[in-house]
């Protein structure tokens, strides 16, 4: 890590750590009677640890001129490790909270381990920890390769990566102490939010400067999606998190948005976090790693442009479908519903584009589980976007809303699309960045694939069943026009599905552990790549099929 930086860059890092530690101290001392003080102290200690690490390595030789002019891959390697660590953490907490719904005493009577505090740790862990690190890591890889230019500088990639992980850490430890804004997927308090803005602006500048250095005349479409992800997430984050802290020495704050506006802003944010965090960025992965792995160009470049602008434009309108039949004005609900249905067009265009890329090469899926990860992800993307548009229709939503059906839908997207495309991308990226012939064990990739797929299917079928049963029980009337079931009746009916869901989630977690071990062994044990440059990331047991169709 330190060896990839010049002496001057190491000193810059120390300076940044010093400034950050001072700021943290400025929070820790006045806030010492408040949880914010714990966070201040935590940041001071982390900065001290990082500074100690760098100081001990000030004399490590600087990188050679040849290394300095090449792609800068050191942050990518650390990013892969962080991605998998957060995957295991986030999915483990997910299995735990799933089990708590079936066996509520699994809180062990501790405040930090109750469902309400662990649930945001699960969502933050998987969405931001796992998903966010995967996005940052792959964006560093893709933007360099498609621009044929190294990252614009060598300090800010580290700042962005570690800064983002610090945000995740503040978030998760904050929940354990009871710190939350209660805004779903935007729970961290005001100081963590401000920190994320600083990190995000740095990320944006780094990405733009790297693009500006490109040797290709055209910006490849994957970078469009990364750029939309970075820009729009910044807008969403700032607007949704505007808040007034009760004092600067306290973690607690109150959002500036009241009631109805807050609901609208929150779900405008919530839905677009799905669009620009969990869709745009991962489509970027698909548009690079899928053609790369399949060794065939994307089916239609024009279609990818059309669907890009379609997704960018339509998604912003769709958030209000989370608030059907509520106190939100009727016309806003209708707008949200209409655009949600229209969204299906660009979404299926993207999924279709991915699948058509495989035409004439479907046989590759038989032996290459990595490619299968990505193709199955595209199928799940198509399925869950269809389901999403369907559920946004008011009549359907009246049944599905507030039930486990929504949870099932989210996980069809999160497990089936986001996680599978990420694993497929990582299995393509890891041998390439570490210059290995292939992954350590293809059998383990295969095992991971089947664990992940079966876990996802068990999970979403369980939630579909429980959600529909729940929704129907709530609205069933007896012949005498009385409600047929009490709420507790509907809860009792859920227990078998909650247990099944826990099993599905456990299989998925197991897959992530297998994947992590495989990546670790690839880095440690796999033979270095001997092949000509550019071919190393293709598995050797596959015949290189010529691109007849193109």
């Amino acid at each position: 890590m330190a060896g990839s930086l010049t002496g001057e860059e190491r000193r810059t890092c120390l300076l940044i750590l010093g400034v950050l530690a001072l700021c943290a101290l400025g929070i820790a001392v006045p806030g010492r009677w408040d949880p914010i003080g714990v966070h201040g102290l935590m940041v001071v200690l982390l900065c001290a640890g990082a500074a100690g690490y760098l100081l001990l390595r000030l004399n490590v030789p600087e990188p050679s001129p040849e290394e300095l002019s090449g792609y800068y891959d050191a942050p990518i390697k650390v990013g892969v490790g962080l991605t998998m660590a957060w995957a295991i953490f986030g999915m483990f907490v997910g299995v735990w909270v799933a089990a708590q719904l079936a066996w509520p005493d699994l809180t062990f009577h501790q405040a930090w381990s109750s469902f309400g505090r662990l649930r945001p740790a699960h969502t933050t862990g998987v969405i931001f920890g796992f998903g966010g690190n995967a996005l940052i890591t792959t964006s560093y890889h893709v933007v360099q390769r498609t621009s044929r230019a190294p990252l614009a500088d060598r300090v800010s990639p580290w700042f962005v990566l570690f800064g983002f992980n610090l945000f995740c850490l503040l978030a998760v430890t904050g929940y354990a102490m009871g710190l939350t804004q209660s805004k779903e997927y935007a729970e961290p308090e005001w100081y963590a939010d401000i920190w994320l803005v600083i990190v995000w602006v740095t990320y944006f500048v780094l990405f733009l400067r790297t693009l500006a250095r490109r040797k290709e005349p055209h910006i490849y479409v994957a970078n469009w999606y990364y750029l939309a992800f970075i820009v729009v997430v910044a807008i969403l984050h700032i607007v949704n998190n505007l808040a007034v802290p009760i004092t600067l020495a306290s973690a607690k704050s109150y959002t500036v948005w009241p009631g109805v506006q807050d609901a609208m802003v929150q779900w405008w944010y919530g839905h677009n976090a799905v669009a620009f965090f969990l869709t745009a960025g991962f489509l970027a992965m698909m548009y690079y790693y899928l053609p790369k792995r399949a060794d065939r160009p994307i089916f239609s470049y024009r279609l990818s442009i059309l669907s890009f602008w379609g997704i960018t434009f339509f998604y912003m309108w769709a958030g209000s479908h989370h608030l059907h039949y509520t106190a939100l004005p009727h016309w806003v609900q209708t707008l949200g519903m209409s655009f949600s249905v229209m969204l299906l067009v660009p979404s299926w265009a993207s999924a279709g584009n991915a699948l058509m890329t495989m035409r004439g090469a479907w046989h590759k899926l038989r032996d290459d589980a990595t490619l299968r990860f990505m193709v199955v992800a595209a199928v799940f993307y198509g399925l869950s976007t269809f389901e999403g548009s369907f559920m946004a229709i008011r009549a359907v939503n009246s049944l599905s809303h507030y039930t486990d059906w929504t949870v099932g839908h989210v996980h069809a997207g999160a497990l089936g699309w986001v996680a599978l495309i990420t694993f497929g991308s990582l299995y393509t990226l890891v041998p390439s960045v570490w210059k290995r012939q292939s992954m350590y064990s293809n059998a383990l990739v295969e095992l991971h694939f089947w664990l992940a797929l079966s876990g996802t299917l068990i999970y979403i079928f369980a939630m579909w069943n429980s959600g529909v049963i729940q929704g129907l029980m709530w609205r069933t009337y007896t012949e005498n026009n009385a409600l047929a079931y009490s709420f507790v009746d509907s809860l009792v009916a859920m227990y078998p599905y909650y247990i099944a869901r826990t099993v599905g989630g456990f299989l998925f977690l197991l897959g992530a552990i297998v994947g992590s071990i495989n990546i670790w062994l690839t880095v440690r044990r796999s033979p270095a790549s001997q092949a000509a440059p550019g071919v190393y990331d293709r598995p050797h047991d596959l015949d290189p099929t010529p691109n007849a169709a193109e």
């Binding site: 002019s69 792609y71 360099q144 040797k215 479409v221 690079y288 053609p291 790369k292 160009p297 550019g534």
Partner: protein, 54 residues
């Protein structure tokens, strides 16, 4: 803000739609502009090239 609620709602309901149509036309023209074909074809294949060094 001194806008009447009804004015804002009317504006939202009409201009949002015009914006959508205008936007769609620009994007479609750009995508199918004959001069862009070469550039797109190049970009489409460029990702498959070797990538050892910049």
């Amino acid at each position: 803000m001194n806008f009447e609620h009804e004015t804002l709602v009317a504006f939202s309901k009409s201009w949002g739609l015009f914006y959508l149509i205008g936007m769609a036309i620009v994007v479609v023209v750009y995508t199918f502009w004959p001069g862009n074909k070469k550039k797109f074809d190049h970009a489409k294949r460029a990702v498959l090239r070797k990538e050892d060094r910049p």
